[in-house]
């Protein structure tokens, strides 16, 4: 009689026998794996039991996979709970910065603090004076937004021409007409409003060529303005349709099992991706600045080359 049957009679598993389920799932270390393989070669009773274990393994997986998934209510409830927690959405490590700043202030002597405060106050007064002077010279027109012009009709063309050199506010802000084009024309990628200091990923730069053109060419924007106005109703409709499309362009991405949370978070940040849902172990991602299916394809191609990405497909 085999060792296996003896042990069943004794109602206690033998060492190797007890390891069979983990051998089936591949969760044994190499040493135990070799021991089990050796025993399986020699003991037909053990092989029979192993066949039964494989059935159990398959059916347990099948049973669990058919249990479904929690509804979105669970995630909503979680997010609501997180927002009502002390600290709200702030990450757990956020308090470090104020701590450092407070420590810096505490390290300064009272006299140094007093001088610093005086210097700061003086700088504020100077800044206010400069801004006041600029306002007096240029009037309020420099601060009117393109949207305002559109509302009041095609008046004040002078206000739409590039402002005089001494109007730093108008000069340094995004060209007003470029902004108007973004609103009226087809592609309003959110990346347009992102600070220039945030570098876009290579994929994103490829995906949004029209954006960089409109941002860098204020003169052209001024020229195209009347065309945009003449076609205003249809252009506005197109703009709204595009906004809807942008929301609908979603990728489904799965990551390698060994991918670490920090790696995934870094990757999502570099692609400016937001998690909008999940299906099984896959994440549904929306990308900032991505408006069309071709944009999505560019990003999907880039994602598939990432080491930690197992699959990346367009969500239906």
């Amino acid at each position: 009689m085999s060792a296996t049957n003896n042990k069943i009679m004794d109602d206690e598993p033998e060492d190797i026998e007890a390891l069979l389920p983990w051998y089936a799932t591949g969760a044994l270390n190499p040493r135990d794996t070799r021991r089990v393989e050796e025993a399986l070669r020699q003991d037909p009773g053990l092989r029979k039991q192993y066949a039964a274990i494989q059935d159990e393994y398959i059916e347990t997986v099948s049973l669990n996979e058919n249990l479904g998934a929690p509804s979105t209510r669970a995630l909503q409830k979680l997010m609501t709970a997180i927002e009502t927690e002390p600290g709200g959405r702030a990450p757990a490590v956020a308090p470090k910065r104020p701590g450092r700043f407070a420590a810096l202030l505490a390290s300064l002597s009272p006299r140094t603090l007093a001088w610093s405060a005086s210097f700061g106050a003086l700088a504020l007064v100077l800044q206010a004076g400069i801004i006041g002077t600029i306002l007096m010279r240029t009037g309020l027109e420099a601060f009117q937004s393109p949207e305002y012009h559109e509302q009041v009709g095609q008046t004040a063309p002078a206000a739409r021409t590039p402002s005089s050199p001494e109007t730093p506010v108008a000069k340094t802000s995004a060209p007003p007409n470029a902004s108007l084009e973004r609103r009226l024309d087809a592609a309003p990628p959110p990346a347009a409003s992102a600070p220039a200091s945030q570098p876009a990923s290579p994929a994103q730069q490829q995906a949004t060529p029209s954006l960089s053109q409109s941002d860098e060419a204020p003169a052209d924007a001024t020229v195209t303005r009347p065309q945009a106005e003449s076609a205003a109703p249809s252009a506005v409709r197109r703009s709204m349709a595009t906004a809807k499309t942008a929301k609908d362009v979603i990728a489904t991405v799965t990551f390698q099992p060994e991918a670490r949370m920090s790696d995934i978070s870094a990757l999502l940040s570099s692609y400016r991706a937001a998690v909008v849902g999940s299906e099984g172990g896959a994440l549904r991602l929306q990308f900032e600045g991505m408006t069309t299916a071709s944009d999505l394809n560019v990003i999907l191609a880039a994602l598939r080359k990432e080491r930690i990405v197992a699959s990346a497909t367009a969500a239906p």
Binding site: A18, W22, A27, K48, D55, T60, A69, K77, L283
Partner: protein
């Protein structure tokens, strides 16, 4: 963002583990929110010595047992509640099942929570002996014997349903 990623990657499996323990979808959904809220609160305590999924399953197990205890209102202690075989789908019912797969699944469902738990952790969540010991809070040898007894109980249920598998 990190919480959404974590949730997206693990919530389904952790939910299913909880659902198999508490057998109530609504309750399992409530528990999944509680599990990840705990994670959000205690992120700093995770030392990385085990896989994140092992950590999450451990939290879910604790929450599920607490919920079961609340439901039974001290009539049963955890150990007793976990050991009760579910009569909802007993072997007589499984006799009606046409094939071995259906019968096996019915018997897997009919096991006690203690046995369901260990079978799920090993077969579905593919946890090692050490990981199961960490999640359930029992010695590694007890993990092995508990799974063995769970499998024997499963075989007995199948036998009662008229299905012979050649083991034991």
């Amino acid at each position: 963002m990190a919480m959404q990623v974590l949730y997206g990657r693990h919530h389904v499996r952790v939910f299913r583990f909880g659902l198999r323990l508490v057998r109530n979808e609504q309750l399992a959904e409530d528990l999944i929110s509680e599990v990840f809220l705990d994670v959000w609160r205690q992120a700093g305590k995770f030392e990385g010595r085990s896989a994140v999924s092992t950590w999450l399953l451990g939290i879910m197990r604790f929450k599920a047992l607490s919920a079961l205890r609340r439901r039974s209102e001290a009539e049963l202690d955890d150990e007793t509640a976990m050991a009760i075989v579910d009569g909802a789908d007993d072997p007589e019912v499984t006799v009606q099942k046409k094939n071995t797969s259906d019968a096996l699944r019915a018997c897997l469902t009919a096991l006690s929570a203690e046995h369901r738990e260990i079978i799920d952790l090993v077969y579905y969540h593919e946890k090692s002996v050490e990981e199961v010991a960490g999640i359930v809070g029992i010695p590694e040898n007890t993990v092995k014997t508990r799974l063995f007894y769970a499998r024997k109980k499963l075989a007995a249920l199948l036998q009662a349903a008229g299905i012979e598998r050649g083991w034991p």
